[in-house]
């Protein structure tokens, strides 16, 4: 499924340079925005502040500058990821970056041709900054806490996706060897970050 979609998409788009700067990515229109905002009502003491839908991610340390799309769970209860190597997926059933809890963004480490948007994610170090710009053009900065790689099937899903008191954002990508017969990389990399206050 994933592969087919990717191929179809490639025929429509010609963007191929992944880690290129703003000029190339800023031209890409984010098409799928199946969002329903719940945050319209005035809030007095809400559990989380106004946090909008994330639209763009910048990671200066590794020259990432990419659009963010909202994705859901598929029928197998798996997180849908972009069908291309340029976009980053935000797990929309979870939290928005900046709100209390674990927001989750996922991007490919490589596509069929070579490096993709999160290829250099493993080079991040604690203290590096990640900027998320939301639908209201508000930019929030997150700071890397730690990087962890987990063998496939052994990642602590609740720690990555589950309830959390702080305002966290976790970036996911693949790492380790690509196992062609399994059609996936053998490890998953999680970059844990916290909102800069």
């Amino acid at each position: 499924m994933l592969i087919l979609a990717s191929v179809d998409n490639e025929s429509a788009e010609t963007v191929s340079s992944v880690s290129s700067e703003a000029e190339s990515t800023s031209g890409i229109q984010v098409e799928k925005v199946p969002l329903t905002s719940q945050d319209e009502e005035p809030e007095e003491e809400s559990l989380s502040p106004e946090a909008g839908t994330p639209k763009h991610i910048r990671i200066p340390a590794i020259k990432v500058n990419a659009p963010v799309i909202a994705t859901d769970l598929d029928e197998n209860n798996e997180m849908i990821v972009p069908d291309n190597g340029e976009e980053v997926a935000w797990f929309e059933p979870g939290r928005e970056p900046g709100s209390q809890g674990n927001a989750v963004l996922a991007g490919h480490v490589d596509d069929y041709n070579g490096p993709a948007v999160f290829f250099d994610l493993e080079k991040l170090q604690p203290g590096d900054e990640i900027e998320i710009t939301d639908e209201n053009d508000v930019t929030m900065t997150f700071v890397v806490d730690k990087l962890e790689a987990y063998p496939l099937g052994e990642a602590p899903l609740r720690e990555v996706f589950g309830p959390e008191d702080d305002r966290k954002m976790n970036l996911l990508t693949c790492t380790g060897l690509y196992n062609a017969s399994a059609g996936t990389h053998e490890e998953r990399l999680v970059v844990y970050t916290t909102l800069q206050q």
């Binding site: 849908i80 059933p93 979870g94 809890g101 990508t173 059609g183």
Partner: protein, 269 residues
Amino acid sequence: MKKVFALFVTVVLLSSVFALEAFADNHGSDEAMVRIAHASPDAPAVDVYVNGEAVVEGAAFKDATDYLNLPAGDHEVAIYPADANGEGDPVISTTLTIEAGMAYTVAAVGMLENLALEVATDSMEVSDGMTKVRVGHLSPDAPTVDVGLIGGDALFSGASFPAITDYQELEAGTYDLEIRTEDGTQVLDLSGTTLEANTVYSVFAVNTADNLEAWVLTDYTAMPSEMPQTGMGGAQSGMNTMLMTGLGAMLAGVLLAGFAFNRRRSHQS
């Protein structure tokens, strides 16, 4: 053209089947999740032992552990004062029987002299886009209460210490709630309580009646069944490793052919 395409689809389907078999997550199937909550207003910081081993140290009033994964079956849960080092008699202990795939909250409730362990079964699912909430009356000397909309209907009626209600599924959003006695007198204002979509909450009324407060625990937020697949293999130079894996060799070859074919098409368009 059609043929290549069909073959391509088959390859993709096959490889996803292999992926599932090769990497099926097989732990967790015989386990249950247990968290322990300290809801006794006057009890000291405590250590929690499960089957004789310390799993939590120095938990104070209104501390809750993360969920611990424990094998299904019987477990001895014992609570010791934090300064006792697990020696001597526990403040309280109980045998907890848990079932695989279930989640539980074990709450230490009541004043220290009447400390009890209250066990509730937690929900780890919620309908898409909805929110789910339950309440616990864990205030030892507070009267029987309702929890409902200010000036509106009760969502939970007739809760008395130490009851933990069933969950109710609601539209996500912000609610003006209150805890009130059965005659309608407000005992705690919970205006502006935001209940997020795809989230399960436990709201425990804790502390003594004079100092009643709401303690909100998040039981569950939406999560996938496994980590997403975030790579397609194109940056790996070791194409040989692919080709050596028997059946994989055939599949990979066809896959590459299919891809090259589609690439060409895309360049023309």
